[in-house]
């Protein structure tokens, strides 16, 4: 009688563990890529500083910044937009040749539309490395 009861309880526990494990696995596996909006930036710096870091040692800067959410301030040197996307090129004050290419999250398009070339802005986005400019994707404008 007693053994039967223990067996029953053990089976229930194992069942719960298996279902719980599977549910956790499924949750982790299907967890969506987090939106940049909810992530605190790992680094905050100017467009000048970021560009200089990549120009002096691209490999080192890639290791440090690529994959991280960072916040960059600078002046809008170029703005390209269509219905579904918007990109700013930010430059620094000291280094007009510096460039950070920021492409906005679809959720931030309306917000980004309000700014124009020459405006000083602060942008948060995920750095993916340097192509011709340093690239930030999934950007949001942040207020200082």
């Amino acid at each position: 009688m007693k053994r039967k009861k223990i067996r029953k309880i053990a089976l229930i526990i194992i069942g719960v563990l298996v279902i719980g494990g599977a549910a956790t696995g499924y949750y982790l596996y299907t967890k969506p890529t987090p939106d940049v909006a909810g992530i605190k930036p790992e680094y905050t710096l100017t467009a000048d500083e970021l560009t200089r870091a990549f120009n002096s040692d691209e490999q080192k800067a890639t290791q440090k910044y690529a994959g991280e959410v960072i916040e960059v301030s600078g002046q809008i040197a170029e703005k390209t937009a269509n219905d579904t996307s918007m990109t700013f090129i930010l430059t620094g004050q000291k280094d007009p040749g510096s460039g950070v290419r920021c492409s906005f999250s679809p959720n931030a398009l309306e917000q980004a539309k309000q700014y124009d070339v020459g405006d000083q802005v602060q942008v948060k986005g995920k750095c993916t490395g340097k192509l011709f400019e340093v690239v930030l994707i999934n950007c949001y404008l942040t207020k200082d």
Binding site: K31, T33, A66, G67, T87, K130, L131, F132, I137
Partner: protein
């Protein structure tokens, strides 16, 4: 090898300033699609740079692997860490040529299908690829380019762990959508 390709593309970009027959974009769109009975996976990259010389037919494309966005966080992490090792190989490049320039008249608006062949480097491995590209020559100095080709992870020494083998297709469909503007 990888460096020489990058230098070549660099030269292509610099020479674009000297000769006037270059069209380019830095916000081209490439997405790839892996379809299996278990799972469909898509990833999008909207920060692709491409340059086309309409005189010689030379084409250069380069992109950052980390700019690919996945719906699932874990998939994006595994892609970067395990599959393409984007810390070690941050860029993918294509260097090629329109092999038959007689198929297109860049001075005339319209749709053209041109054969393109060249070398694609992903994960530090270079393979030759051939594909047809649909070009739309538009007014106001814009050329739209669309293409689709198949890439196999195995050809680029990308090792998919056993547990994921049913989830990731042996042949990945790569789609290209560029809007090139005259420089």
């Amino acid at each position: 090898m990888k460096n020489s390709v990058l230098i070549l593309i660099g030269i292509l970009f610099i020479s674009a300033n000297i000769y006037g027959q270059e069209y380019m974009t830095r916000s081209g769109y490439i997405w790839f699609y892996s379809q299996t009975p278990v799972e469909d996976i898509k990833a999008h990259n909207r920060q692709v740079a491409c340059i086309l010389n309409t005189e010689t037919g030379d084409v250069g494309v380069t992109l950052l692997m980390k700019s690919f966005e996945f719906k699932k966080a874990l998939m994006q992490r595994d892609f970067n860490r395990q599959y393409v090792e984007s810390d070690k190989y941050p860029k993918a490049t294509f260097e090629g040529k329109i092999t038959d320039l007689s198929k297109v008249d860049f001075s005339e608006s319209g749709k053209y299908k041109v054969p393109v062949s060249g070398k694609l480097t992903i994960h530090g491995v270079t393979n030759k690829i051939n594909t047809d590209v649909n070009l739309t020559v538009k007014e106001d100095n814009v050329i739209a380019a669309k293409a689709m080709f198949i890439a196999s992870p195995a050809d680029y020494d990308i090792d998919i762990p056993k547990v994921m083998r049913d989830n990731i297709a042996k042949e990945i469909e790569v789609n290209v959508d560029f809007e090139l503007k005259k420089r």
